[in-house]
């Protein structure tokens, strides 16, 4: 039985490479393997050049529309809606259009499809735990998105709009770390939702749930700071969604002091670690009851 043979290895946290690796694999080999998988993820997405161009075009069109709406909000609201200046809101929109494809909140159902079709059995026969290999591929994809899809909308923003340029030197590294963590939280959330296919066989429902909450609670349509304060507290502390979008953007436009920004990065780290651990635990449970459908 393939299911018995495919006992999962303990999952290692892909974001913290210096963690003690499982004894049989030397550290350098594990790191090299992870890097190779990430590079493969990068190359895979770099082959879809037309799709990248089409995606950038779409981001620019949406950016122009949202920037116009936000400018009207600033004009009508008399100054600082949600505590943002006009330039900060415009930057929020354009950096947000770039970030959207880096954190890639929607439409990932590769794993669920492989579970439904039974192809996941092949993933389990490989020497690397599927959580680790998918996480590596995801990092590669995100790296490609930074080069292929992040820079262009931000460039358009700088070329045609009055953008906010961060004053503090600390903002730049903090933003970089925050984007990596946004990718990790987004990936772990989507992976978890995909894993429900082990129980439901068809994960469309949970995927729709993730899509709905990611669209409404992450700050894509409007900054969450437009909401009443009680709703903000609920969303920021009760859900991982601001970690995926709004936290990096608030850091980029220096919406808060650097200390508060660092605290929000710590919040991202907590959500990322918790969701990754949950993914590993749920995957172990799923594999214990896995029945590979023949044929």
């Amino acid at each position: 039985m393939p299911s018995a043979a495919a006992c999962p290895k303990p999952a290692s946290d892909p974001d913290a490479a210096p963690d003690p690796p499982p004894p049989p694999i030397p550290l350098s080999a594990a790191v090299r393997r992870f890097a190779a998988l990430a590079a493969a993820g990068f190359r895979r997405h770099s082959t879809y050049r037309q799709a990248t161009v089409a995606g950038v075009f779409t981001n620019v069109v949406f950016g122009a529309m949202l920037a116009a709406v936000m400018s009207a909000v600033v004009a009508g609201g008399g100054g600082r809606p949600g505590g943002y200046t006009g330039a900060q809101l415009v930057t929020y929109v354009w950096v947000g259009q770039g970030l959207l494809s880096v954190s890639h909140m929607w439409t990932w159902k590769e794993l669920a499809d492989r579970i439904t079709s039974g192809d996941v059995a092949a993933d389990l026969l490989r020497p690397v735990d599927p959580l680790t290999s998918y996480a590596a591929a995801e990092l590669g994809r995100a790296a490609h998105a930074v080069l292929g899809r992040f820079i262009a909308p931000v460039g358009v923003g700088f070329a045609f709009y009055t953008m906010y340029v961060p004053h503090e030197a600390a903002t730049y590294p903090l933003f970089a770390v925050s984007v990596v963590l946004a990718v990790a939280v987004s990936f772990a959330g989507r992976y978890l939702v995909n894993l429900t296919a082990f129980w439901l066989l068809d994960a469309r429902g949970p995927l729709a749930a993730w899509g709905l909450f990611a669209a409404s609670l992450s700050g894509v349509h409007f900054p969450l700071r437009f909401l009443p304060e009680w709703a903000q507290w609920l969303i920021w502390l009760g859900t991982p969604f601001p970690c995926v979008f709004q936290i990096p953007l608030d850091i980029a436009v220096e919406r808060t002091a650097t200390g508060v920004a660092a605290a929000t990065v710590a919040l991202q780290l907590c959500w990322g670690t918790a969701l990754m651990a949950l993914c590993a635990a749920v995957q172990r449970r799923a594999l214990r009851r896995l029945v590979v459908q023949g044929g």
Binding site: T58, L66, A68, G82
Partner: protein
């Protein structure tokens, strides 16, 4: 299983009439989509909520500003509700055409073309998304609620307009869906390019046209006709003049705009079909 075959015979001999064939395709879809019941119900329930999120965004924006480009909450809500209802109706009926790119890439399009039915009709019938029915119904309810909330001065003409406006908007969005998908005949990875016009058009049409810079107005509002999905009928329903100076009767040209859009979309689709070369897979 025996049942559909019997219906075939009733429909007249070996070849079922197209209507019967489409009915079978749709029924088979209904059965298959109901298979994973828990997932289907969750999906149907949540996709109904999704368009409320669009309107909630308008409410959130009006929490921080009393007016938007000179328009009040009622006016913007009415614009957004009209556009959202029209968009979701179109998405329910023809939104599946987005899958054309997958059909072209995997070679499934070959199978569609050899069957004795219209390719467009087959593509629309083979994956009719029943989970989206709830969303369209709910958007109809929301539209009525917003009409009541907007507290309009009803006249017979406005009542007629209130009924034809979402239908015309749906026709317009449907044409854009078909035209956008047709691009996949030339450009397989065009999915996101089409999104700029389908979902982009929806986002554009939710807010009053004067908010946008002139190049966006030129292309999206009047070039592609999205001003007619929400903004122009809103002006006529609320009886307010357009800051851009368009005449009031323009709202009534919506059906003409939708018809032109359909003619263009079908022409593009036909050219695409003729241009199609199998990937050979």
């Amino acid at each position: 299983m025996a049942d559909p075959r019997r219906e075939d015979r009733r429909a007249g001999g070996h070849r079922p009439r197209p209507a019967a064939a489409y009915a079978h395709l749709v029924r088979a879809q209904a059965r298959s989509q109901g298979q994973y019941r828990a997932s289907f119900l969750l999906d149907a329930g949540l996709s109904a909520l999704l368009s409320l999120v669009e309107l909630a965004a308008v409410l959130a924006v009006f929490r921080v500003t009393p007016e938007l480009g000179g328009f009040t909450l009622r006016e913007v809500l009415l614009t957004a509700a009209l556009c959202e209802f029209g968009f979701q109706l179109a998405d329910l009926l023809v939104g599946n055409i987005e899958r054309l790119a997958i059909y072209v890439r995997t070679g499934l399009m070959d199978a569609v073309l050899v069957r004795p039915l219209s390719p467009l009709g087959q593509l629309l019938a083979t994956d009719l998304p029943f989970r989206k029915v709830g969303r369209a119904v709910q958007d109809a309810v929301v539209y009525v609620v917003v009409l009541v909330y907007a507290d309009l001065d009803w006249t017979p003409a406005r009542a007629v307009l209130a009924v034809i406006a979402p239908v015309a908007a749906a026709a317009l969005f449907a044409a854009v869906f078909i035209a956008g998908a047709s691009v996949a005949f030339w450009w397989i990875d065009s999915g996101e390019f089409a999104n700029a016009f389908t979902y982009g058009g929806r986002t554009f049409a939710q807010y009053p046209v004067p908010l946008y810079p002139s190049w966006l107005r030129g292309t999206f509002a009047y070039g592609l006709g999205f001003a007619f999905a929400g903004y122009q009928p809103m002006l006529a329903l609320c009886g307010r003049s357009d800051p851009l100076g368009t005449p009031a009767w323009l709202a009534w040209s919506m059906p003409v705009v939708a018809a032109i859009a359909w003619a263009a979309a079908i022409a593009l689709w036909r050219t695409g079909i003729r241009h199609y070369r199998s990937t050979g897979s």
